[in-house]
Amino acid sequence: MTTRAQSSQEQSTAPDAEQHVPKPRRFFELLLLVLSWIVAIGAMCLVDLGNTASWDHRIVAAAAVLIVGSLIIHVILHLKARYADPFILPIVVVLNGIGLTMIYRIDLTTPNSSVGSQTAWSAVAMIACAAALWFLTDHRVLVRVTYISLAASIFLLLLPLVPGLGTEINGARIWISIGGRTFQPGEVAKITLAIFFAGYLSTNRDLILLAGKKIGRVRLPRFKDFAPMFVAWLVSIGVLVVQHDLGSAILFFGLFLAMLYLATNRFTWVGVGLVLVAIGGFFAYKTISHVTVRIDSWLHAFDPAVYNQQAGGSGQIIQGLFGLASGGLFGRGLGNGRPDLVSFANSDMIVTAIGEELGLLGLGAILMLFLMLVSRGFRAALGTPDAFGKLLAAGLSAAMVLQLFVVIGGVTRLIPLTGLTTPFMSAGGSSLLANWFIVGLLLAISHSARSPRVVNEDAGDAEDIADTGQLGATAAISKLGSSSHEETASSPHTAGGHS
């Protein structure tokens, strides 16, 4: 942080250091966007080539939504967040485009018809992202809704339990249905929980860290400092156990642990959390039948009895693995695989469908895109000056990584398969909406991370630093900035005490 500020300071005296000032790079983004359209539309055309050889109106609609939507977001970035990260948007457009392609392709060979609604949801999600960017010029205003977003998370998580509104699909009661359309409120709760954790931890970080009893080398936080976090955690986990959605439970618990670690830099928390997961997982395996089935079909996937089991058999996983295997290194080619053999090929198992048709190389490229997307999120977290923005960007990125790990680990039989969506790809509007909204937040934060900050002697801009940083946040930034100050701190303390 200091080197960055220094370099911008030096820039005013040394004219040869032009490159220190971050550039908006919006035209580079446009270039990447054009490339991303070529990739997405190319994929759609390749499917068509193998099947009908003529333009399908569904494809035209999907392509039009992608192009128009991303152009709108691009223009809004021009107007509202000139310094936003130029890589995030094109990456997401490619991921969404390939997702739409695969859903369309699976529609062709199965009785499903979800590409139309997925296209519509893409449009809605992109509008949500654009709206987030338009109205959220400064992400720090979200600190004000810290507790509101805790309440919203609880509300959203409890919604599916409301009789008449909540619907149970495939044994998990995580959907609500309004007018025939289903929606998964848990996906949105992911964002509101991240906002709550970021807001709460950025203001109360010092209290959690420094107040409380010390037992051995570990300092336990006082209960009153930690209680809201505990409530958030308890509600999210408790509700999910009731609703039988293991994937979301892992996701929320992981988000909780990741943000706690990001805020406090104490690995002890993660250690304690993992031990709790192990204990909880063991008891869940022994007592909850839903979990037992999941773990059995993971451990004994190739057992014919488990494979042919009616509810929760391992057929889905094994067919997915066969699909990946038949894809090989280069894949069968778009439109030439048999993803129709796998149940839920366009939602839970879309990764194996892609692996089958694009092969290891194609799936590898997509994983690279996810990696780069997440690293851009962490980059924004590193660059942004306020503790809240840091925590929010890093937390949302961590949530995305976790979700990917749970999904891809599940379909490749590394961990038990739990029903989570692949961000931007799986058929499902709520997931698409939530993830595009996350993209909007990351773009907004990356704008504040990359825009030049100059503090003048007359302190015109310094004022806004003083304004926004309430005590906790500013103090936390100075701490997050470096750890070396502790050494300098010790000497004045002792000196001051003596005289």
Binding site: A365, I465, H493, S499
Partner: protein, 167 residues
């Protein structure tokens, strides 16, 4: 209907296109990840020296003064109130002043707030910012309302403690 060969070519072409996209983004990130910047940063002092040698004879003192970044004050001295006489060394990181024990520079002064004020470096200067303290932070008898530049030798008051920066 396209022939078998073109379909195969298009298939591999698409995979290649995907990876081209990945590599274009990677190449674009190179500068943004700060690789170029750090290289530049480390090479700067060397270049300065060379320039200085060349200019020493011709341009004289004015040129060299402009090249040399002025040094940031590196000492903080308490010159009034409780704890008078103690001197703290300043690093590159911001300093939190206040009565709370987690402050970088804890002050034993009943008139201070827990987290009273913050000194932070910007380039070659230190700025002082009041963190909403009860009794205020004063420079030249002016209560601070915004982050303000602190010159070395100009005392400022935090609670009853008077502090000044020294070079």
């Amino acid at each position: 209907m396209a022939s078998e060969l073109t379909v195969t070519l298009l298939r591999f072409g698409f995979l290649a296109l995907l990876w081209v996209f990945v590599f274009v983004i990677l190449a674009g990130q190179r500068r943004d990840l700060g690789l170029g910047q750090t290289l530049r940063f480390t090479s700067l002092p060397g270049r300065k020296k060379n320039k200085k040698k060349g200019e020493a004879g011709a341009a004289g003192t004015a040129g060299t003064e402009k090249q040399q970044a002025p040094k940031r004050p590196s000492q903080l001295a308490i010159i009034g109130g409780p704890g008078t006489g103690s001197i703290a060394r300043l690093g590159d990181s911001p300093v939190l002043l206040g009565r709370a024990q987690d402050c970088t520079l804890p002050l034993d002064d009943d008139y201070c707030s827990g987290h009273h004020a913050r000194l932070f470096p910007q380039g070659s200067r230190w700025f002082l910012e009041d963190l909403g303290s009860t009794n205020g932070t004063f420079v030249n008898d002016q209560r601070l309302t915004r982050a303000t530049l602190v010159e070395p030798g100009v005392p400022f008051t935090v609670g009853r403690t008077v502090i000044e920066l020294r070079a």
